[in-house]
């Protein structure tokens, strides 16, 4: 099969299964047509409206732009930032100061201001994103207030009386008229909206949503969480700053009030009202909020008297925020989407009939696999993952106490032990999700001890979790593609402005994900929401997400829980196959039939320490192992227990 035909097949399949990706020609047409409609509507509004409405339209456009800056940070990545007021002000005051005091060109001032905003976002975001979300909210709230106080009190910014500036001059063409403002602002809104929509289905957007859904799982897929959050925060700062520069040039005057916390809250209300999860929310929210403002103003004046309109409007704003969050946290666009989905909902695809194959026990399946291995002359490979003297203490409790293990390429190593023996903690130590108290971990002779999960993932380690850690609101295909994060390279900018290279990479990731889904028998669920599937299917999705990165070592934490017998058997066959392909597999499992048939070696853990390592047969016959599982007569407890739990509970 030639390379081009693979791509073509693949494209057809990808677009059929996942209409969100711009692969087919029809979609490209659709995008072109949508852009054209947008331009026509904006131009018509710019030319047709009265100058009063043009002015309102222009300022609504700027608010929509600000909300578009908030949605990728808060909606996609789930990080609550209120810095928009400050970055908006950086753009406005930057443009005013640089053009009026230093005689810079308007465009140059816009670029430099955006650069300053980006720098501030980097310096603030990088450290704060290590903390939990609401610390960011408070930090950014303080930032907005600091900015407001500074421009209000400093002489260079004109204090509370502000600064004047000129209309924006674009290479000799002066943007003076409100119709020009409206057109410019809304074309920019269209551009940023498109970028945000592309980002949502691109590699980095997926990473952000994975972070919102489950940080540990995202990190294990190789996503650098702090870097991703910081990048999107910077993008948001640049968009806000740009809106600020345009505001300054269009109003031709800046003073402190529009850049305080109040603006940040306005923008938040817009995003919540419209819907955080989609960039369309910014556009819809900005327009609807303006209409609300216009319509309640008269009512408030009659109701409360003109003096109280300000407080009344704030009251409505705050109440709107609370009520919408309680009734529909996904906003207007969320409501619209669920209506569309209800209409489009196709009848559930019938389960394909299970093939009536001859019943084979797990042990028999193993014998078949062993025969194949013998024919192929399969031998154990090198040590892929090696752990020495791992210790993990939680306060006074030693969960893992001096465990050493090696996993060889091509083997399946089962880790078994009673509940609470420290198996899951051990996996967390190997994968970098937990820091060991002592001991080392290396992958292919490279030290990964103490490195964070996303760095360990880069060394070729993939894992699944004991309870499935899937991402809310993400379909199965995208969930699996998150696992392929490290197999792509497209960054945030190229994710949002899809270059041919970015589209090609996306198709390749699609293909990889589909291959894995086919292999695990999940293909027909590709477009379903992963969280709506059964536990067994969720477990398989996790394995698919781990496999798609083509790992060198695969750690599976209780993959059989929730699987029926036939599924367990097919998992067994899969793991044996993966072994033959040279992957080092570690599996934690309680199902002994599965363990004995699946494993090449078994590592028994009890009270955080190694009890026995050996072949399944050796382990099965070991008296200490039997005692650990079945208990021992009370008179022999001391003799067995003491060496095993030296410092479990102090």
């Amino acid at each position: 099969m030639s390379r081009s035909s693979i791509t073509k097949n693949d494209r057809a399949r990808a677009s059929a299964a996942h209409p969100g990706t711009a692969t087919g020609n029809g979609l490209r047409w659709f995008h072109g047509a949508a852009a054209l409609v947008w331009i026509i509507v904006v131009a018509a509004a710019g030319l047709g409206l009265s100058s009063y409405w043009q002015g309102i339209g222009a300022s609504v456009g700027l608010m929509a732009l600000l909300a578009l800056g908030m949605i990728p940070v808060t909606g996609y990545a789930g990080q609550f930032s209120l810095a928009v007021g400050a970055f908006y002000g950086v753009g406005a005051y930057g443009s005013a100061l640089l053009t009026m005091n230093f005689g810079w060109l308007g465009i140059a001032a816009i670029v430099v201001s955006a650069g300053v905003a980006a720098g501030a976002a980097y310096l603030l975001g990088r450290p704060i994103f290590r903390l939990r979300g609401h610390f960011l909210a408070m930090g950014t709230l303080a930032l907005s207030e600091v900015f407001f106080l500074l421009v209000n009190n400093l002489e260079i910014t004109g204090g509370s009386s502000g600064l004047p500036l000129m209309a924006l001059d674009v290479f000799g063409f002066e943007l003076f008229d409100t119709s020009q403002h409206l057109i410019l602002n809304w074309l920019l809104v269209g551009l940023v909206l498109w970028g945000c929509l592309r980002l949502a289905v691109g590699r980095e957007g997926r990473a952000l949503k994975a972070i919102r859904g489950h940080e540990a799982a995202a990190a294990s897929a190789g996503i650098d969480i702090v870097a991703s959050k910081t990048k999107v925060f910077i993008a948001s700062a640049v968009i806000s700053s740009l809106a600020g520069s345009l505001y300054a040039h269009q109003v031709m005057y800046v003073n402190p009030p529009p850049f305080g916390v109040a603006t940040a809250i306005d923008v938040l209300v817009i995003a919540v009202l419209g819907g955080m999860r989609s960039p369309w929310g910014a556009v819809v929210g900005a327009i609807v909020l303006e209409f609300l403002h216009q319509s309640i103003e008269g009512v408030l004046t009659q109701l409360l008297g003109s003096a109280a309109v300000g407080a009344g409007q704030t009251l409505v704003l705050g109440a709107l925020l609370v009520v919408i969050l309680i009734l529909r946290p996904d906003g207007i666009v969320g409501v619209a989407e669920s209506i569309v989905q209800r209409i489009k909902k196709k009848p559930a695809t019938a389960e394909p009939a299970t093939q009536d194959e001859e019943y084979v026990t797990m042990a028999q399946a193993r014998v078949t696999d062993d025969t194949v291995r013998e024919l192929e002359g399969h031998a154990l490979g090198e040590v892929v993952l090696s752990a020495r003297g791992l210790v993990k203490r939680f306060g006074g409790v030693t969960a893992v106490n001096d465990i050493s293990l090696d996993i060889y390429a091509g083997e399946v190593l089962a880790v078994i032990g009673p509940n609470g023996a420290g198996k899951s903690t051990l996996v967390n130590l190997l994968s970098g999700n937990l820091l060991p108290t002592a001991g080392t971990v290396s992958i292919l002779d490279e030290q990964v001890t103490g490195k964070p999960a996303h760095v360990v993932a880069r060394h070729g380690l993939s894992r699944s979790f004991q309870t499935p850690c899937l991402f809310e609101g993400m379909d199965v295909l995208s969930t699996v593609k998150v696992g392929a994060h490290l197999r792509g390279h497209i960054g945030m900018l190229r994710s949002s402005v899809p270059t041919p290279g970015a589209l090609r990479e996306e198709r390749e990731l699609d293909k990889l994900a589909h291959e894995v889904l086919d292999r695990l028998g999940l293909a027909r669920f590709a477009s379903e929401d992963a969280k709506n599937l059964s536990l067994g299917q969720q477990k398989k999705i996790e394995i698919a997400r781990a496999l798609v990165s083509s790992p060198k070592v695969l750690l599976l934490d209780e993959p059989c829980a929730g699987l029926n017998k036939a599924e367990k058997k097919s998992l067994l066959v899969l793991l044996r196959q993966l072994g033959r392909e040279g992957i080092a597999v570690l599996v934690i499992e309680h199902d002994m039939e599965f363990v004995m048939a699946c494993a090449d070696r078994v590592h028994v853990v009890n009270f955080g320490a190694t009890l026995k390592v050996g072949t399944p047969a050796e382990v099965q016959g070991d008296q200490a192992v039997i005692d650990a599982y079945l208990g021992v007569p009370s008179d022999s407890v001391k003799a067995v227990d003491e060496p095993l739990e030296p410092e479990v509970i102090r």
């Binding site: 808060t74 789930g78 609550f80 603030l124 450290p127 704060i128 903390l131 939990r132 979300g133 609401h134 610390f135 909210a137 408070m138 930090g139 709230l141 303080a142 930032l143 207030e145 600091v146 106080l149 500074l150 009190n153 916390v261 809250i265 938040l268 919540v272 409360l304 109280a308 407080a311 009344g312 704030t314 009251l315 704003l317 705050g318 109440a319 709107l320 925020l321 609370v322 969050l325 309680i326 946290p329 939680f394």
Partner: protein, 289 residues
């Protein structure tokens, strides 16, 4: 020397307010893991409750009404806005408190306008002279009530079953629920305590200066710094943190300028978040599994 003593003394009184505001954050954070953005506005609601009550009640009783108002506002917020969102995650719950804060502030503004309000001090008479520095009598009440609130809370958490249950929720709310602790009741208690402490101490401050409806925002941010200094965990260190902030504020407004003292404080907030999010404690609360 007298100047330094004066700065320290007045910082004690103002710091008691920031500290109790911070305690309000800590009590709620320990129980629910969330940051209550309406904290400052709830305290202001408490202070206005006291202002209204002072028309018919003696000052000390009016302050009691202030505590009650703060507690009621806080509990109402929990049951009307946060409880319906309990399945939505911390992000949405945090955003909603911001909305509630705005609602409280604008309702107060509609009722009371933007002007300053005041009522009589608990004990009449001139300021007390302490080694050459002077402090209004009411300031001693502020410090005293903050300390009483601290001791009461500390005893509550250490000695009572409800307090211990509340601490258990802080460590692992799921496990606490499993062993039969009523999470909703515990959250109600936490929100009530948080609102009562912040409301009472702010209400006690009203006779020495005055209160305006817009005060909640800055108070909320300063209380948040105190809470960071307390590591979002230790109420004693939070109170100490409140004093430190007030001292920084006093020194800054004296030596630099009054206009910039708040700027300096909020920059301090950002710097703390970046450089030392664990505050005066040794370990970051999010890592303290």
């Amino acid at each position: 020397m007298e100047v330094a003593l004066q700065l320290v003394l007045s910082a004690l009184a103002v710091g008691a307010i920031y500290g109790s505001m911070g305690i309000g954050y800590v009590v709620i954070h320990r129980m629910t893991g969330m940051v209550n953005f309406a904290q400052g506005d709830i305290a202001v609601a408490g202070a206005f409750g006291a202002v209204v009550a002072s028309a018919v009640l003696p000052p000390l009783a009016a302050i009691g009404v202030g505590a009650l108002t703060g507690a009621v506002a806080s509990v109402l917020m929990y049951h009307l806005a946060i409880f319906p969102l309990r399945k939505q995650g911390l992000l949405v719950q945090t955003i909603v408190t911001l909305g509630v804060g705005i609602v409280i502030r604008s309702i107060l503004q509609l009722i009371f306008g933007t002007g300053p309000r005041q009522f009589d001090p608990i004990t009449a008479g001139g300021p007390v002279n302490v080694f050459g520095a002077s402090l209004p009598q009411q300031a001693f009440w502020v410090i005293g009530i903050a300390l009483i609130a601290y001791v009461a809370l500390a005893l509550f958490f250490e000695r009572t079953l409800t307090g211990k249950a509340l601490s258990a929720c802080a460590v692992n709310s799921y496990a606490a629920g499993v062993v039969g602790i009523n999470l909703t009741f515990m959250a109600t208690v936490a929100f009530a305590l948080s609102g009562a402490v912040a409301g009472a101490v702010l209400a006690t401050q009203v006779p020495t200066s005055f209160i305006t409806v817009g005060a909640g925002f800055a108070l909320g941010l300063k209380g948040f710094i105190a809470a960071i200094l307390g590591g979002f965990d230790k109420i004693g260190l939070t109170l100490a943190g409140g004093f430190l902030i007030a001292l920084v504020e006093n020194v800054a407004s004296r030596s630099i300028s009054t206009a910039h003292s708040e700027t300096i404080l909020f920059v301090l907030l950002i710097a703390l978040l970046i450089l030392r999010p664990q505050g005066l404690t040794r370990k970051l609360v999010v890592e303290r599994v």
